[in-house]
């Protein structure tokens, strides 16, 4: 069956460290992968998109990697801050007949401790 697994439900790290979140998938062949941030009581907010033929993408303190052989994406936040505390969702994008679908993982709740 198809599965998207994000490494843990919760991740606690010290301020200033690099947070690394994992997204593994099985029985999918995504054309691209997106990462979203979700704060309590709010809708997800788009952060980064990476295509299957890209190995790495960066945006400010964020970095995403995509390894289609390992079927894994890593999401890094460098120099983490308490304001980075949120739930981070990975989403796999696949094209179908005349449409494309974005399927989300459960998310990882990141807490950055001052």
């Amino acid at each position: 069956s198809q599965k998207i697994e994000q490494n843990s439900e919760a991740l606690n790290i010290q301020e200033g460290k690099t947070a690394t979140l994992t997204c593994n998938y099985t029985n999918y062949s995504p054309a691209y992968l997106q990462w979203y941030r979700q704060d309590p009581g709010r809708g997800p907010v788009f952060l980064l998109l990476i295509r299957e033929n890209e190995k790495e993408k960066r945006k400010e303190r964020l970095k995403v990697t995509f390894d289609t052989t390992l079927k894994q994406s890593l999401f890094h936040i460098t120099a983490s801050q308490p304001a980075d505390s949120a739930t981070y969702l990975c989403a796999l994008g696949m094209s179908g007949a005349g449409s494309y679908q974005l399927t989300f993982g459960k998310g990882t709740k990141l807490s950055v401790i001052p």
Binding site: Y36, R42, G43, P44, L89, G93, S99, G105
Partner: protein
């Protein structure tokens, strides 16, 4: 730009009652989505519109859920009759186009509690 607007913000109903949610997407966004997010889970796609036509409703429980997008702009999602397991946040999202490099813009959702 104004974001995706949803109403109501919260709704509490008894099982077997009906409920409707409204969504106004970002102006000019052709694609509109309804997602269901149960507590502790990721959003699950219910239905996807391109302008006012349905692109994908394969995960919509059609015996109780219905959705429409009038004139390719606003959309409503209805549940009739509601079950306890429908308790969730219903998120509306829109994107500029139906293609892979078009990120989704979400509203803040409607939290539904079915008692």
């Amino acid at each position: 730009e104004a974001g995706v607007a949803q109403s109501p913000r919260y709704k509490i109903i008894e099982k077997r009652q009906s409920v409707a949610f409204w969504c106004n997407p970002i102006s000019g966004h052709a694609t509109l989505y309804w997602y269901q997010q149960i507590l502790g889970q990721g959003p699950k796609l219910l239905i996807q519109f391109q302008n006012n036509g349905v692109v994908d409703d394969s995960q919509l429980p059609k015996d109780r859920f219905s959705a429409e997008r009038l004139k390719g702009v606003d959309s409503t999602l209805k549940i009739q009759p509601a079950k306890l397991e429908d308790s969730a946040v219903y998120l509306c999202a829109s994107s500029l186009a139906l293609r892979h490099n078009s990120p989704l813009h979400f509203g803040n959702g409607t939290r539904l509690t079915v008692t």
